[in-house]
Symmetry: C2
Subunit: 359 residues, 2 copies
């Protein structure tokens, strides 16, 4: 079992660096009461104000099922006031059912997400962290027993290391060296089975994601030039998008725009996502996973996109700090494993081959 | 098992009369997820905004144990903004342990409560309702099995009636007739074993508590003239005050002020409560219980003070709508059962004798 206090020490001390007087929202489900209480303790000890936002795991599905049109297309004013007034926001993913939204019409989920964009944007202006706590549903989705999954997640979080915060700092230093190389390049090309995609990254900023905003993290990412993506890509890691599995996505890009899209499974979800808005058809992110504690896909994007030896692209919203300017209510990460022979080229020089950094 | 949807229909339709667009805070523990979700559904269906404020049952004890001095003596600004910005507030009492605060130093609990007074006052300006949901801890405190306690509570809430809202309306009409009689009187005298206490109520307003603010309710109450209470009273119903049991409280009043106080058990809690502030030594409320669905004390003030045939007095804060002007961070209801031969006189005429209204 992951020790809730060790987990809270990592989130509070590394991800949030919480300070006295700060108001910190803790958003999770009732399945994560143990870490939520441990965070509450850790924040109080630092003189910060923990604000518990626990939901029953069914809440989101219940909302979509019972909300009136005005509620789908709006939000409670107090939710925005809270997102604007807080100093930090931690979301702990802890579902009871990773397919809870499967019965909801995809267009409705997209519509509600679009209406909540101001909330999302306000939260992104805070110090924020998205993290995860083991549940039976996450283990099931990963195809593991609960105990096995907890051990896996402990490794992903570096909570199996003697000094987890030092381990994250070390990962950050390693990523910094990777970024120094990436900064020199202008064009990224991804070549793999059914995949040959180019995009430009010159002038854009690479971000060192060292576990402050995502815990676990272990990726470097940027925003590719919006009109630059050209070619095709097959994402071979199954993706969970708003509660439904989408498998075998293939996209064709011309001048940055998705001009053809298909999926082996979940094609309706893919179509609904692309129809979110015009920005949903453009790339908002190119990321490279580096977390060696994550060695396999478990169906959770937060973890899968960090697998060392994978690359991911997000449809939709850019992170402004990358220099990316794509705007959308969508931000959907799709993952390509390079460990079975794929290559990522930087200006036609192999940088990652077969999932391994070319030194 | 109480049907969560029937419960929510009562709270939403009678207690809150929730309207489209209203923001409604739902504050309870994770043990009351079923009614919280049912309320969430019922509010959405009315076009209102439910705002879930679920806490782990241990939260309050954890707070008192780990909070820094500045946190004991303050509160998060967002909590006040929320209390000021919402339209309604429902608190569902659903503890995992009714003695959770027993290990906390009483002075600390009082100090924290005093600091939270602005929050309390802001919430009282909203449409508010305090209600209760059966838990194992509440059943244990009542000396009942869980199933037996649920049946008892169902009766207290009138959820065993064909039309609960009609039953509450009928209780309100019955209480209105009692108030018409009380309005004619100037002085109330309570006479019972070890009890002879007089107080003036002329010019004060009697409130018909018909299940809108407390669910269950069933009481009429006013604020007695602050300097008028004179004599002694023994409260023979055990009381729970901030997580500790206080039994056999005896008070002596002179010119409205408590001049002597003792308790068979919990004397330190009684002393701490009286030391809250000067207003804590004066009466803020005189109430008469009328709920015939509640036939026995179960250790929960919300229920015990409504027992038909009892009378209660609150030390501390008055409800301004009664005309009472006593100000305090304390509001502690203490209950006297009149069913064993006690008499409540109105201007020397018996109004309640042996717990029964004299017609």
């Amino acid at each position: 079992m992951i020790d809730p206090d060790a987990y809270a020490a990592l989130v509070c001390g590394w991800c949030l660096e919480a300070q006295a007087g700060q108001q910190v929202l803790i958003a999770t489900t009732t399945l994560a009461q143990a870490p939520a209480l441990a965070l509450h303790r850790a924040l109080l000890q630092r003189g910060a104000w923990p604000l518990m936002r626990l939901s029953p795991p069914e809440l989101s599905a219940e909302f979509h099922r019972h909300a009136q049109p005005a509620q789908i297309d709006g939000f409670a004013p107090l939710e925005l006031a809270e997102a604007q007034g807080a100093d930090a926001h931690v979301r702990i993913d802890a579902p009871a059912n990773t397919r809870a939204l499967a019965g909801i019409e995809p267009g409705l989920v997209t519509r509600a997400a679009r209406a909540r964009r101001p909330l999302q944007e306000a939260r992104m202006r805070l110090r924020w962290c998205t993290t995860i706590w083991p549940t039976a549903a996450l283990a099931q989705q990963a195809g593991m027993g609960e105990r096995e999954y907890e051990v896996f997640l402990q490794g992903a979080l570096f909570l199996d290391r003697a000094d987890p915060i030092a381990a994250w700092r070390e990962l950050g230093a390693r990523q910094e060296r990777l970024i120094e190389r990436l900064r020199e390049g202008s064009e990224v090309r991804i070549e793999a089975d059914r995949t040959d995609l180019r995009m430009r990254v010159d002038g854009r900023t690479w971000i060192n994601s060292d576990g402050r905003r995502n815990m676990p993290s272990g990726e470097v990412f940027t925003g590719p030039h919006e009109p630059s993506a050209s070619g095709t890509i097959r994402f071979d890691v199954p993706s969970s998008h708003r509660g439904s599995e989408v498998v075998g996505v293939e996209l064709r890009f011309e001048e940055g725009r998705v001009v053809a899209a298909s999926a082996e499974r979940g094609g309706d979800r893919l179509a609904a996502a692309l129809a979110t808005d015009e920005g949903a058809r453009y790339l908002g992110e190119l990321g490279i996973g580096t977390n060696t504690g994550i060695d396999r896909a478990t169906g959770s994007t937060l973890l899968d996109e960090k697998i060392s030896g994978t690359v991911h692209l997000a449809l939709g919203r850019s992170y402004p700090e990358t220099g990316g300017v794509n705007s959308s209510a969508l931000h959907w990460d799709l993952i390509r494993d390079l460990r079975d022979g794929g290559v990522l080229y930087l200006d036609d020089e192999p940088l990652i081959r077969g999932g391994v950094l070319v030194e």
